[in-house]
Symmetry: D2
């Protein structure tokens, strides 16, 4: 879907990367932006025991944190200058154990409205080279003027 | 709603606390169980820059991680022995900036089914002694036999 | 939660009732407003075979339709004149069979923001005089200027 | 995604169509199955004033009812004999006004588990021959033994 999107700000990429870099929580998770294009953002992180739930898989909170970031920054790629992104809400289904070495969330804009942007995010876990979709998210974001 | 719930396992409290203690992600967030009763669990964490989003508030991923844990362990208080809890899905609305020193998620069981349990979770942020509800979650959990 | 809400429009009640009356779908379902107060709206309908799913209970689509209306009009009670309500999104858990004679959805505003309003809605089914909560919803609404 | 799905019941198509035919609510909406394949179901309905909200567009309850059916029957195509489908929960974003002559919901299975099946549903409205996606849904369904 993302091929039609034209960013409203020529400096969209620097703006998105600078905002991501200010998030202590993404640094704490070891999360980085792997892909960035108009209407698309992929965020990845590598497994460490600090990111685990009780069975040693990635915690649902980690999965949803990187999924939320992937969708949020996918939206932000399309925003005009002097605007920022807020997550209004999201819904995530955890459809397979997040058992693996790498977790990758890929967000795509479905609808870029004036006030609200809707994204879908797929999260896959990579284990011994094989990928499994472990979570799917649907998310609502709001564009706000920078204070 | 929780007053009617009777745990199916006399050792429910030890079981819930032991499972929580195995979660590296909760330790990483500095999160602890503040309240535990049949059908109820409250989880709290204190602010650190490592938990922030781009404006220095608690990150939505942190908010949803402790909310997911609070609801999940509220459900687990009612489970029989030799069972574990999985999050099927959740939906969270972030309704106010999570700006404060302490974040507290309180989960309550709405419906305790044989296979699925439904919870609602409220998250409040405490700033200079004043509490604000900053997020509300609705969540579906599944009871699974321990492997 | 609704006790603190003060409507922004003295004519809120007429405005809400007039909008409800324009909804062909609510008439089709035989749905009526049972309760209306600032930040609160309850909508009821009686069972007919036309509202059924494959087992003869109320269809999930009927349940979600009246829940969506209850939450939407709960939000609208607080809106200023010359504004209308749009449903941005909702999430509903169907937690018990909607088996009974009457279906009642009660929506309450959780957060009344400038642009977005968040509601929770409980739906109960009444069978031989006994009520059961059969669905719970969490919903995001947007205030829009009347065209 | 649906190309990999193999129905567990050779008589899946008759079973799905028979269940759909028993839903009074679908008949009431004038809804019919337009497409049926393993893991896929599309449901359509034509506009009538009885299906409207306050501006004369399709009501959100109608949109969610046919989306819920499309996803539910997409799931049911993969179920073994003597099983039925229940909607556990769904979340729907209404992303554009449902203004048009025809409403079409297309559900696809994302994950077909033993107990739970996850679907995504897109709803489009057709107006003067042009299609617009007006809603996106993410849904959790449960397989239950027929009573």
């Amino acid at each position: 879907m993302s091929t039609d999107f034209v960013p409203a700000d020529p400096a969209w990429e620097e703006r998105v990367r600078a905002s991501f870099a200010r998030q202590g929580a993404m640094a704490q998770l070891g999360a980085t932006i792997e892909q960035l294009a108009p209407g698309v953002c992929a965020v990845v992180t590598a497994y460490r025991p600090e990111l685990s739930q009780q069975h040693g898989f990635f915690h649902a909170g980690v999965t949803s944190a990187i999924a939320d970031s992937a969708g949020g920054y996918a939206a932000m790629t399309l925003f005009p200058p002097d605007s920022d992104v807020l997550t209004v809400e999201f819904k995530i289904n955890l459809i397979a154990p997040a058992h693996g070495e790498v977790l990758r969330a890929r967000g795509e804009v479905v609808r870029n409205g004036r006030t609200l942007t809707i994204c879908r995010v797929d999260v896959e876990v990579v284990r011994a080279g094989a990928s499994t979709v472990c979570a799917v998210m649907q998310q609502t974001l709001m564009r706000v003027a920078v204070r």
